[in-house]
């Protein structure tokens, strides 16, 4: 097994670990409060499987304004969580936690996926 691949895999697994912890943390600290609140209950985006709304909320809280506009104008707008409503009912800590989680989850996923693809293609041999 290649040295580089080994190191990258270790980094990926550590990232995975932190992502999972942040996922549960964010879900308990922020999304549970949002789910209970009547006004925000229906703006958490589409739930493909249980727990998907946590991902939706985190992504909505970490999107730049231009991306937000793009998504709201697209035909699949109601799949995403409603950022306007969410910004009203969350505080700074919630938003930072959400941004951390979405950063970690995206980088870890992309990194591991790239690693798996590179391995499948045979880049490391």
């Amino acid at each position: 097994m290649n040295e580089i691949e080994d190191t990258l895999l270790t980094i990926g697994l550590i990232g995975l670990f932190f992502t999972m912890i942040l996922y549960v943390l964010f879900g308990q600290v922020t999304v549970r409060k949002l789910r209970k609140n009547k006004e925000t209950k229906d703006s958490l985006g589409i739930e493909f499987a249980s727990g998907w709304d946590i991902l939706n909320v985190a992504l909505a809280l970490s999107r730049p304004k231009w991306l937000e506009k793009r998504i709201m104008a697209s035909p699949t707008a109601h799949f995403a969580a409603d950022a306007k409503v969410l910004y009203q009912y969350t505080n700074r800590f919630d938003r930072i936690l959400g941004r951390l989680f979405s950063f970690f989850s995206l980088t870890t996923t992309l990194m591991l996926l790239a690693l798996a693809l590179a391995d499948a293609v045979g880049l490391f041999d």
């Binding site: 895999l9 999972m20 589409i46 493909f48 939706n56 035909p75 699949t76 109601h78 995206l106 591991l112």
Partner: protein, 299 residues
């Protein structure tokens, strides 16, 4: 048709080809060909339509993918069911909101002693009516297709509560009983809305099956006296990674792909499922070594 070669065969030597019927091109291709022919005979029409809409190669590819999906990564299949059902859940909510607005209008207009003549209306009654009309319009905007399906069977000339806000508000105002306003029940009885409750269970259930089978593997290794900690590490890391991959691809795929066409959905789901399976396999192979080196370093 004439001049067919001798070997076109379906139950008997064929001298003519009919539409929506499968044929064997070589009668001598033994039992396998015949059993395939028998299986296809019932499905030929569906297959023909599918091939015309998706293209023959895509039908082959799709069937291969869905067979593999059934065997391996069951957690992604649930997402297709959940996707449509979430929209249907919101449809029921919109209907309920409309019904509530109508009932409110009814209460307000009745408490004011409002009769059939529409000569006076206080501002409260006017507001309630506007609210009901707005609720109907919201429902109409977002769920036009579903409403048309629900109303397509109705023969009422003046319209029903669900097909026109005018009819809804006039029934609310002047009808003696509230039976006609209970649209939540009428719509609920409709197949479309029933489907959402059934399919949502399906959506979450498949993820649980995947998770459950992994727990089963760990338990089996415990019972067999093997190193179950290691198995737990492997199973949990591969589950987490494949779930993350699938969810990320689905979320971002929806934001950027056009999912209006049916083929777009198929691509998205196939890519998400493929990614999840790739991650699963990769981590199943490699996280075992990571666990070993971690344990060595800790000792």
């Amino acid at each position: 048709m004439c001049c067919l070669p001798d070997d076109y065969y379906n139950g008997a030597q064929a001298t003519q080809l009919t539409a929506n019927t499968p044929y064997l091109l070589d009668r001598d291709s033994a039992g396998l060909g015949h059993s395939v022919l028998n299986q296809l005979n019932g499905q030929a029409r569906k297959l023909t339509e599918l091939s015309f809409s998706l293209g023959a190669d895509n039908v082959m590819a799709l069937s291969a993918v869905s067979a593999k999906l059934k065997n391996e990564s069951s957690n992604i299949i649930g997402t297709t069911a959940s996707l449509y059902t979430d929209k249907m859940g919101n449809f029921s909510k919109a209907i309920k909101a409309y019904q509530d607005a109508l009932m409110e209008y009814r209460d307000v207009s009745r408490s004011q002693g409002y009769h059939r003549s529409m000569s006076t209306s206080s501002s409260a009654v006017r507001q309630a009516k506007q609210k009901a009309i707005a609720a109907f319009n919201r429902m109409q905007e977002r769920f036009a297709v579903e409403l048309e399906a629900v109303n397509s069977g109705s023969k009422a000339k003046r319209g029903t509560v669900l097909s026109s806000a005018e009819r809804g508000t006039s029934i609310a105002r002047s009808s003696r009983s509230v039976a006609k306003l209970d649209i939540s029940n009428q719509a609920k009885a409709h197949d479309l809305v029933k489907f959402s409750r059934y399919a949502k269970g399906l959506g979450n259930g498949l993820a649980l099956i995947d998770f459950g089978s992994r727990i089963g593997k760990v338990h089996n290794s415990y019972l067999a006296g093997e190193n179950w900690h290691r198995k737990l590490f492997i199973e949990s890391s591969s589950f987490a990674a494949s779930a993350l991959t699938a969810s990320t691809i689905m979320s971002y795929g929806l934001a950027f792909f056009t999912v209006a066409t049916p083929l777009g959905w198929v691509c998205l789901i196939a890519v998400a499922a493929g990614g999840a399976m790739l991650m699963n396999d990769y981590l199943q192979e490699n996280s075992g070594r990571k666990y070993d080196s971690l344990m060595d370093n800790l000792r």
